[in-house]
Symmetry: C3
Subunit: 205 residues, 3 copies
């Protein structure tokens, strides 16, 4: 189940990333690269930070084909994808929490400290979007107040606490994904935002 | 032969990177760092992704001196280098295909899937330029339509198919470099471009 | 002593990074992430380049709490921190040289070439600030002429030459830190700058 959700989420991330690339008038290669970085960059960064090799897409290169195929298929379907805004926001929310749970699992396997387990989940869930924004030359969207990384952290903590408490892995994955997904959808619906730190003085070093 | 071409290409990449740094009024240290990232960043990224250590320039630190020396020598020679625009475009094209073949070799040695062999070649050939543009705060030039990554992919595929077909390594390296180089030069001469994905609706998540 | 200075420098880097995030109106999560990248990114990049695992903050996750705590504490104290401009510049200078010496030590332990030992020190001292500026979508500040990377290089060379010359490690750490710190403060006081490479012709490939 987690694996199916993973593939769906990867394809959905690739498609929204392709739209971001299209808004910057990138060529087809740029579209594929932005899609790969967005959909697979979080897991790649987590594995590099934890020294966990081989990387997921090196071991399973068909993931690259799935990502590039989804991204290129988005080009003729851009108008359609845009009209499907809500389904894609839901798929993106699903991806965020599924990636988080998978990342926590890798952290647990690697035997790291609980704090790093949660961080591994958050990196997996959010780093792809940050890398996408850096390559597209934006200040990362994720820092602009949306409840996104917070959702990843909450889902990771629920999952990890459940496992420590002796709950079965499958159940806790389901619970964490459901809780995180609900929180993300509520945040979208009610426009919940993280408080911002607005500081307008210049203090250049 | 591949090694000589590699050193020439590294020096040429360092010199064009120095010009890019100069256009942003960077100091001498910035010039050296942009040159290192551009000339050695592709191989470094490939090695990190494939867990292939030690990195080329850690094992052979004189590469850093070659890169920084070439970059700093560009400063008094900037006008001259600019007039040598075509020679540098040719050296850059040579570098792209030489880096690609070297990257494919590393992938083959590491025993990865054929798709990843080609990706290793493409990362080696193109990631340095992408990192340079990120550090210079540009949307990467490589995504703007030029046949650049495509050339790297084609050269890598020719090289790998030849090796699978039992051709001698040296011959195939020569064939792939010649084919890729010709394709790149033709693309420059006739302004061949990748199709772009232009999408101007705002769909911010 | 080195360890105490390290913790103080990490906290100081986190606080100045938080101000940089605040100038871009980031949310609290963005503030924490920019602080982590700035304070711990240099060491992380060095360890990835040298294949030196586990990363410092993976092994000692309380560093993350120190960084995020310092960054969040900066939000209500922003005006105060701004008035403490000079103390923070001094702490930043201390951090630069302390990070450099620690980075050189890791390089020496890893048994790399002397050039790479100095590079390991420079990466540790300066890469965090470069990553901060990339995430904040600036051309990195460090390339704009300040004597910053140069200070790191000088401190690293003094430290390494002393060790080769048979001096005790503790003494050389103290000497290198004092010399680098003094150089940085003098550079700040007298506005010493690296020469810049200003090149305004367009030569797009």
């Amino acid at each position: 189940m987690l694996l199916t959700a993973f593939y769906i989420a990867v394809a959905a991330e690739a498609m929204t990333a392709a739209l971001a690339a299209g808004r910057r008038n990138m060529d087809w290669f740029g579209v594929c690269l932005i899609a790969c970085v967005t959909a697979l960059g979080g897991g790649t960064m987590r594995d590099i930070l934890l020294d966990h090799y081989p990387l997921v897409w090196v071991q399973n290169p068909y993931l690259l084909l799935l990502v590039c195929g989804s991204a290129l298929a988005t080009i003729p379907l851009a108008r359609l994808v845009e009209r499907l805004r809500w389904p894609f926001l839901l798929l993106d929310a699903l991806g965020l929490v599924v990636f988080t749970v998978i990342g926590c699992n890798i952290g647990i396997e690697a035997g790291v400290h609980p704090i790093i387990v949660i961080v591994a989940g958050m990196v997996t869930g959010t780093a792809g979007g940050i890398l996408r924004d850096v390559l597209c030359n934006d200040v990362p969207l994720i820092f602009q107040g949306e409840l996104y990384a917070t959702v990843s952290m909450v889902a990771g903590i629920i999952y990890y606490l459940g496992l420590i408490g002796g709950m079965p892995v499958d159940l806790m994955a389901l619970v964490a994904i459901a809780a995180g997904f609900t929180l993300r959808v509520l945040a979208l619906a009610f426009k919940w935002e993280m408080p911002k730190f607005v500081y307008d003085r210049e203090m250049r070093k």
